[in-house]
């Protein structure tokens, strides 16, 4: 296969594996996520293992990439350039945390759970997209 095809197949495959990971771990289930966040109540800590395993594996891949000139099927690594710790980062993360705690859906599971066909998921995703655009047109992208 040439690079043009692999540039499409790689993210497609990554999306499938990512989604299976969310489903196998139960991250797609808002009740389970809220149980994980309920540290002062009936805490269900198992989801901690999701973060630990995912971070560990990505950390190894990232370390490997430091010895590579370029990715397998693309010309450059798009390394995140922002490093500043500012009010914008804290406010954004706090707003996200409140929304996440309210329902138990973060963006990946929200998109994945569209496939359940539940109207309530579509409502949440629609609000998420509207929120994204409100922030885009009021605050704009970070520089």
């Amino acid at each position: 296969m040439n690079h043009k095809v692999l540039k499409a197949v790689t993210p497609l495959l990554a999306g499938i594996i990512f989604g299976l990971g969310l489903l196998v771990s139960g991250m797609n289930n808002p009740a389970k996520v809220r149980g994980f966040l309920d540290i002062f109540g009936d805490w269900q800590p198992a989801l901690m293992a999701v973060m630990v395993a995912a971070i560990a594996i990505f950390a190894v891949a990232y370390a490997l990439s430091n010895r590579m000139k370029q990715p397998w099927f693309h010309s450059i690594f798009h390394r995140p350039s922002l490093t500043v710790l500012d009010a914008r980062l804290l406010i954004g993360a706090a707003l996200f945390g409140i929304g996440w705690g309210m329902v138990g859906l973060c963006p990946g599971p929200a998109l994945l759970d569209i496939m359940t066909g539940q109207v309530d998921v579509l409502l949440f995703v629609a609000a998420l997209l509207v929120g994204n655009r409100i922030a885009h047109y009021s605050v704009g992208p970070a520089k």
Binding site: A61, F73, L85, R88, G92, A94, G101, F124, N132
Partner: protein, 134 residues
């Protein structure tokens, strides 16, 4: 606990594949932002990733049956939370995947601060809603 470890490993492998394969950070907020800008060709990968994410669901159902999924039915809570997640991840440049998995894996201080912040606010929100009986 094994399901959670295995699922986390799959998420890590997916993020690793995206990074080593095409040099992109597997952040879902970034994917969503890119889908709004899909007329710029270099963002096409996000559409393929999104398609893969959706395709994983029927694959899982075929292999393991319908996954458990319980969520509030309160429309006001759903809409307010959706708006907050949409705005917050845009303003803070990431969510559980971009900051939580990739950023922490890169040892980015910014992502560590963001992760601690959204975890703490998520926990406080659940606490407050429990107290209010919501």
């Amino acid at each position: 606990m094994w399901n959670e470890l295995a699922g986390g490993a799959l998420i890590g492998i997916a993020a690793a594949l995206l990074w080593l394969g095409i040099g992109r950070i597997g952040g879902i907020s970034g994917v969503i932002a890119n889908i709004f800008l899909i007329n710029q060709g270099h963002r096409n990968w996000s559409l393929y990733f999104f398609a893969g994410l959706l395709a994983s669901y029927p694959l899982y159902v075929l292999m393991a049956g319908t996954p458990a999924m319980q969520m509030t039915a309160n429309k006001v809570i759903l809409v307010v939370a959706g708006l907050l997640v949409g705005m917050g991840t845009y303003i803070g440049n990431g969510c559980t995947s971009g900051h939580g998995v990739c950023g922490n894996g890169r040892l980015s201080i910014r992502s560590m601060v963001a992760t601690c912040t959204f975890m703490v606010f998520g926990m406080l929100t659940v606490l407050i809603m429990n107290i209010l009986g919501l």
